[in-house]
Structure formats: C-alpha cells, structure tokens
Symmetry: C2
Subunit: 214 residues, 2 copies
DNA sequence: TGGCAAGCGGACGAGATCGTCCGTTTAGGC
DNA sequence: GCCTAAACGGACGATCTCGTCCGCTTGCCA
C-alpha cells in the first residue's frame, strides 16, 4: 500500500469519527470526504459502503468491547469482572461521540459471518453471569439478556444526551446496584429473549447499517 | 371546517402513526400522504412541517403523559404515584410504535412557548419526589433528574428494540427497584442536571424535530 | 533519474425528497 | 338545483445525496 493511500485512509477514519460525532451516523459521505481533505472517489475506494466506513471508524472501540469481556471472565471476582465490563462498555459509549449511534445502529443486524464469535461471546457472558451468581454477589434472577438490556438502554441514553456524562453515570450506578443481590427484592418480570446478535462484545462483531426507509 | 377536510386530517394522522411506526420518524412525507390516500398538497396544507405532523400524530400520547403526572401527584401514596407514572409513560413508549422515536427526537428541543407548563411539570416532579422521599419509600439520594434519565434510557431501549416488550419490562422493574429506599446502598454519582425540557410530561409539551445534518 | 502503475479528485448522471403551483372537484349554504 | 369558496391532488422545479467515470498526479522501484 502506498504511503499516501495509508495516510488518506487514516485521515478518512479520523474525519468519519468527527463527522459522525457531530452530525450523526447518517451524515453525507461527501462531508466526511471534505473534512478529510480528499475527493469522494478516494473515500469510496477505501470504504465502498457506509457500513465499511462505520466499521472502520469504530474498530478500536469494538475491539475494546471484545477485550472487556475477556477481562471480565479472567477477573478473580466475577462480580468485579461484570461491573468492570458494564462500566468499560458504557464509558466507551459515553466518550466516543458517534459510537453510541453506531452501536445502536449495528445492534439489530444479523451477520452470519460473525456467528461463531458471537456464540462464543454468548457463552462467555452466560458463564460470567453464572459465576457471579454463584459467588453470591449477583442476584439469582439475573438473566444474561439483562446485560444486553442494560447496555442498549444506556446506549440510547447517551445517544439522546451526548453532552451529559452525569446522566450516564447515574444510570450505570442505578443499574449495577439493582443487579446486586439483596435480600428484599420483588420478583422481576420474565427475562427478555435477547441475544448478543450484532452487539459489539466481540472484536469482530457489529458495525453495520440498517436503513430505516424502504 | 369542511367534512372532507376533517376526514382527511384524521386519515393523515392515522397514516402518520402507521408509517412512523414502520419506517421511523424520518419516513418521507409522500409515503404518509400515499398511505392516507391523499395528495401531497393536502398533507402540507394540514401539517406545514414534519414537526406539526409528528406533534399531531402523538398528541394523545403527550396528553396521557401529562395526565399521568397529575395522577401521580394526586395519588394517596407518593411512591405508588411515582411507580404508576413511570409505568404509564413506559407502557406508552412500548405500545405506540413511532412514539419512542418522536419522544427522543423531541427531547433536546427548547420551546419557549411551553416554558410555563414545563416549569409547572418540573415543580410537580420535584414535589412528587420529595413527598415520596419523606414517606420513606424513595431513596433519599434520588434526584428529580433521575426520572428523566430513566425515561430517556427506557425510550432508547424501546426505540432500538420495538419488538421486545419483555426487555422494556425488565428495565422498568430494575430501575424502580433501584429507586426504592433500602438500607445498604453505595453512594450514587452526582445527579445529572437534566430538566424536563421538551419531555412530554405536560399535555402541551414536546413533539418537534431536530435535524441531525446541517 | 525515468517510467509506470497505483492513487487521486473533480465532475457528472441517476435517483429521491421536498414543498409549491395551479387547474379541477366537491361540500354545503341558499 | 346552483353557485362559490374551500379543498383537493397530480405534476413540477429545486435541492440533496449517492456512487462512478476518467483524465491527471505522484510515490516508488529499478
């Protein structure tokens, strides 16, 4: 790869993060190209589709999410691991502007290519939850899908209010406290059937667009 | 108002709800007109802007939100009032497809015209929270802005997963349980400075669009 | 240093949405 | 039944975005 090509690729990724943060994930491709100081053709040559651009722009964040799950499993105390996982992913959503939109946008998408790593993530989360429950710190009626519920809800919050990190921190604190095992809690409604489908908890997963219009 | 005009207006509102539910709040105006069986001019004559259409389509939901706040204040037990308020608003978000998007979309908007009713809602929420805390049911470190945090987060969840009412119910249950006063809870991070700005907790409030692109 | 292929970017055609214009239709009072 | 003004709706021009084409530039190897 020629040096100018590599340089332009990096410029495009930085411009994409900036533009997505400022104008949302649906910003015109031409805006990204202009901000990067390159022509439209160069943008399309490096990233043929918007999905590829989004995926490239937030690859590092996706990887961090994936690592966070591994770290959580490796932690000595499973409850600490779970807390760290939630806080890491939520901090990422909070800090990298544009990422929440990409995260939410990617979520409902089904990608066969990543089925394997997703299943692995699924098993990891299940194992983490069970161990945290066995340690007595996580409430026994917690369901692995509740983790998805929490992350998606938090993501929606930061997407709606990108300028209020305090709101994010309050929500995370409330949720983690309600996940904690405690004697007098009313029974919860039945768990959601959510899976990790498309959720960037694996290094390879997530990052595609679902057009709203048809 | 002529009878055919009134009939077309109703058709347009119903079509808008259906189209917004199916294709999101950004669906083309022409789609709404076609679904209603009227021409584009008729749509624009009744609702000059998309904002007006959204506002019209979800006026009933907005009113229900406003009434729910009044009901909560009027309840004998303030904690019961608060839970009813949260559950009513969340049920609305869950049941009327398109409404979550409108709710989120409307939220960051500032509308001077409704400043008065918003301030009233603000006072009502504050009063409700204080009374619930004095009754001992609501945790003392709960801040009125936490209600906004919870509602916006729930809204983001239903917007991302409109087909999973169980996820919504789980989140609501977790949040309400974590709001409940209980002896051994770690201190929360500082409250968000959120206000009710644009939040449809008053009959007149909310319902406008904020374009993402510039 | 010369040559060439990889890389670049402006321009362009296609497609979509917006909001308006204007000729036609129709409801409802007389 | 007639007449008028209100209401209708199809068509249209303007604007925007997408993705591609093609002539020009430039990094890199010999």
């Amino acid at each position: 790869m020629r040096s100018d090509a590599r340089r332009n690729r990096e410029r495009l990724l930085a411009a994409a993060r900036a533009v997505f943060a400022e104008h949302g994930i649906d910003a015109p491709m031409a805006t990204v190209a202009r901000r990067a100081g390159v022509g439209a053709a160069t943008l399309y040559r490096h990233f043929p589709t918007r999905e590829a651009l989004v995926r490239g722009a937030f690859a590092r964040q996706m990887e961090t999410c994936g690592r966070a799950l591994g770290d959580a499993l490796a932690a000595d105390d499973p409850w600490t691991g779970l807390t760290h996982l939630v806080e890491t992913v939520c901090a990422l959503q909070r800090e990298e502007r544009g990422f929440p939109a990409a995260f939410l946008d990617a979520f409902p998408e089904t990608r066969e290519e990543h089925a394997r790593s997703r299943e692995q993530a699924e098993r990891d989360v299940t194992a983490l939850v069970r161990r945290a429950q066995e340690s007595g710190a996580l409430r026994p009626d917690f369901h692995p899908s509740d983790l998805v519920v929490a992350l998606v809800a938090h993501c929606g919050l930061v997407a709606a209010l990108p300028d209020d990190p305090r709101a994010s921190r309050r929500l995370v604190a409330y949720l983690l406290q309600s996940f904690r095992a405690a004697p007098p809690t009313a029974p919860l409604p039945p768990p959601s059937g959510l899976t990790l489908r498309g959720l960037p908890l694996t290094p390879e997963g997530g990052g595609s667009r679902t057009p709203r219009r048809s």
